[in-house]
Symmetry: C2
Subunit: 354 residues, 2 copies
DNA sequence: TACAAAATTGTTAGCGATAACGATTACTGT
DNA sequence: ACAGTAATCGTTATCGCTAACAATTTTGTA
C-alpha cells in the first residue's frame, strides 16, 4: 500500500551520495571544465546565439551534471535587466487576488517574465515599503492593485523606469496604465437592480471603508442611486479585519435582529453574502422572500451553493491578463508606450437571491 | 459624497510636477550631493554604524528628497547576501497555503528577511523550475511544501548553501529540516473516529492522487485502518483540477446516487466536504443522520456554516511559523544547524457532522 | 587556391553596491 | 598642549556575470 514511499526513499539515498562532492559552482568552473571561455559558457547556458551546436551541448551537459545554478544577481547587474514583474496586492486571504495573479501568470508564461507577489495589507504605508522593496530589485514591470497610494509611493513608481499598471479600479487618475472596472458604477448598477426588484428597506454590510477604497466606491455609488430616489440605507454595518463567512453570518444576524423588516442586504464581498445566506439557512429564513442578498466579486465559493447569490463579476482574471499584456507590450516597444486605460464591464449575475 | 476622490487628485497632480525632474539616482549621486564618499552614503542608508548623526541625517534627507531607491542587485552581489526567503507552494487557490504564508510572514517580520512565493502547481517538474529560479537569486532560506521532489530538485536544494525546510508533511525522509503533520496518521485517526461512530459503509472523494502526495497519504492511512477491520471503501471518487465547493457538491451527488445507502464520506479537503454539505442541504438530506461528512484542513470556510463539519486541523499557521523560525535560527548560528524535524499534532474537530 | 563573408570564440570593461582596511578627525585625560 | 584612543570617513578591490567589440575559425565561392 505504501510502496510509493519506499521507492522515493531509495531514489533519495542515491542522490545524496553525490551531494557532498560538489561545491559552489561558478560559471568560471563550468567554462573551465568545458574548455571554453566564460563568455561562451554564459552564452550557451542562456540560450544565446553564436554558439555551435556541439559546444553548447557539452556546456549544458557539464552544467547539469554539476548542478550549476546561475547567479542571477550577477547576471542581472551586468545585463541591467531583471525578468521579474512585481505584483502588489492587499491580501491573499480575500479569495479575490489569487485569480488576478492567475491571469497574470498565464500571460507572462509566454515570456521570460515571472511574477513576484508582495502583500500590502490594505495599508498605504505598508504598500510603500513593499513597493520600495520590489523596486529595489529593478523589476521589468509593476502591477499594483488600486489607484490610491501615498505620495512617496507615487513618486517612486513614476521615477521607476519600468511600466506600471494599476489594476482593479478605474475610478481616479492612474499614474500611467490602468485596467479594471468602475466600482462606483458597480455600486450604482447593483442599487438599480435592487430597486427595480422593488426592495426599499435596504441594509449594507462592508469593510471599514478607509481601508478598502474600492469597497468604499461601491458604497458611494450604491448610496448615490438610493439618494436619487430619496431613499437611504436602513442600516449600515462596518467590520474590520478580513472578510469571512463567519463574520458575514454574524453581522447579518445582528442586522436582521435590529431591523426584522429589512428587505435586502448589499455586501461588499461575496464571502460576506455567503455568510448572510448561511444565517438565513440556519435561521430558517427564505431568500429572497424573507430577505434578499447581493454580494460582489463573483467568487468561486458562490458556485455549488443551494441558491445562486446575486453578485457582480469583477473580471479578476481578465484584469490580470490585460495588465500582464500591457507589461509585455511596453517591454517590446523601445520608446514609451502611450498610457493605456482599459475599463472592463462588470457583469451582474442576479442569481435567485434578489 | 466623493470628496475623498477629488482630494486624491489634487495631491497627485502636485507630485507629478516633480516627476520629470529626476533621473535614475545612484548611490554615487546621493553621495555627491551630500558631499561625502559613496561608502559613507552606503553606510548611512543601510543604517550601518560609523556614521555621525548629522551626516547620516543629511544623506537620508537627500536620498528621500530625490526618491533614491537603492539597487539591491548590486548590493546583494557585493555583500553576498540576499534578505529573501523562497517559499514554494503548490497553489494559492486551495485556501490552505495563504495561512502557511501568513505564519511565515509574521515570524520573518522580526527580521530583515522577506518571503517570496513561488507556485509549483502540484507538478514536480514545475517545482524544479520554480526552485531553480528562486535559488538563482541566492535566497537566505527555502521553505518548500512537501517531501517529494524529483532528483534534480533534491540535488539543487542540497547543494544550495542555505537552510531548507520542507513543510506540511513528515511522512518521509526530509532533506534536512522539516515541519508538519503526519498525513498518514491523520487519515488513520479520522478513520478510527468514523468507525467508532459506527459507520461502516464509507466513501472517499479526493484529488487525483499522483498530484497530491499528502492527500494520498491520508487516503492510505484511512484505508489502512478500514482494512484492519476487514472493511473496504464502498466507493472512491477522484477528481483532477482545483478543489471547489461546486465539485464537492457534484461528486457527492453522484456518489450518493450510486450508493444511496452510503453512511459516511471522507473528503481530501474541507472545500469538498462543504460542497458535499451543500448537496445535502439542497437535496434535503440531514447530516449526519442521512450521511455523515468529514473533511480535512480546518479551513476558515467551515466557520459560519449552519452545521460544524468534522475536520482535522493541519496546523497551517503554526507550520509556517516554525519553518520561519528554523530559517532564522540557521541564519544566526554560524555553522550548520543540526537537522530539525518537528511533528505537529493535528487536532480533529468532530463538529456535528459525524 | 585564395579571399571575403559568416560563424564561432575570446578579451576587456564594467554593472552598482559593499567588505576590508587605511586614513583622517575628534575627543580624553593628565 | 600632546600622546593615545575612539569616532568618522575614504580608498581599493572585488562580487559573478554579460555587453560590446576584437579575434579567430569555418565556410562558401570565384
Amino acid at each position: 500500500m505504501l510502496s510509493f514511499l519506499s521507492a522515493a526513499l531509495a531514489v533519495r539515498r542515491e542522490v545524496q551520495d553525490h551531494a557532498h562532492m560538489t561545491k559552489k559552482m561558478l560559471l568560471k568552473d563550468v567554462a573551465q571544465l568545458a574548455g571554453v571561455s566564460e563568455m561562451t559558457a554564459s552564452r550557451a547556458l542562456r540560450g544565446a546565439p553564436d554558439v555551435s551546436k556541439s559546444t553548447r551541448a557539452k556546456i549544458e551537459e557539464i552544467a547539469r551534471a554539476h548542478g550549476y545554478v546561475p547567479n542571477r544577481i550577477a547576471g542581472s547587474l551586468s545585463s541591467q535587466s531583471v525578468n521579474l514583474v512585481a505584483v502588489v496586492v492587499p491580501s491573499l486571504n480575500s479569495f479575490v487576488f489569487p485569480e488576478v495573479l492567475s491571469g497574470i501568470s498565464s500571460v507572462l508564461k509566454q515570456s521570460p517574465l515571472k511574477p513576484v507577489v508582495g502583500i500590502s495589507g490594505y495599508e498605504l504605508d505598508e504598500e510603500e515599503e513593499v513597493i520600495r522593496e520590489m523596486l529595489s530589485w529593478r523589476p521589468s514591470g509593476v502591477i499594483v492593485a488600486g489607484l490610491e497610494h501615498n505620495d512617496a509611493t507615487r513618486k517612486m513608481l513614476q521615477q521607476s523606469d519600468c511600466p506600471v499598471v494599476e489594476v482593479m479600479d478605474v475610478d481616479g487618475t492612474p499614474l500611467r496604465h490602468c485596467v479594471g472596472i468602475s466600482h462606483l458604477q458597480a455600486g450604482r448598477d447593483m442599487a438599480a437592480q435592487i430597486l427595480s426588484h422593488g426592495y426599499r428597506r435596504i441594509g449594507f454590510i462592508g469593510t471599514k471603508m478607509p481601508q478598502d477604497f474600492r469597497a468604499r466606491k461601491r458604497f458611494d455609488g450604491f448610496t448615490e442611486v438610493l439618494t436619487a430616489q430619496s431613499l437611504s440605507l436602513v442600516d449600515v454595518e462596518h467590520y474590520s479585519g478580513d472578510s469571512s463567512i463567519a463574520t458575514g453570518r454574524q453581522l447579518t444576524a445582528q442586522m436582521l435582529d435590529r431591523h426584522p423588516d429589512l428587505e435586502c442586504i448589499y455586501y461588499s464581498s461575496d464571502v460576506m453574502s455567503v455568510g448572510g445566506y448561511m444565517h438565513c439557512l440556519a435561521a430558517g429564513l427564505s431568500v429572497p422572500q424573507d430577505v434578499a442578498l447581493a454580494g460582489f466579486n463573483n467568487l468561486q465559493i458562490l458556485e455549488g451553493l443551494p441558491l445562486e447569490l446575486a453578485t457582480t463579476d469583477a473580471c479578476r482574471r481578465e484584469v490580470g491578463e490585460r495588465a500582464a499584456e500591457i507589461i509585455l507590450k511596453a517591454r517590446e516597444s523601445t520608446g514609451d508606450v502611450a498610457p493605456i486605460c482599459e475599463t472592463l464591464s462588470p457583469r451582474i449575475s442576479l442569481g435567485q437571491s434578489l
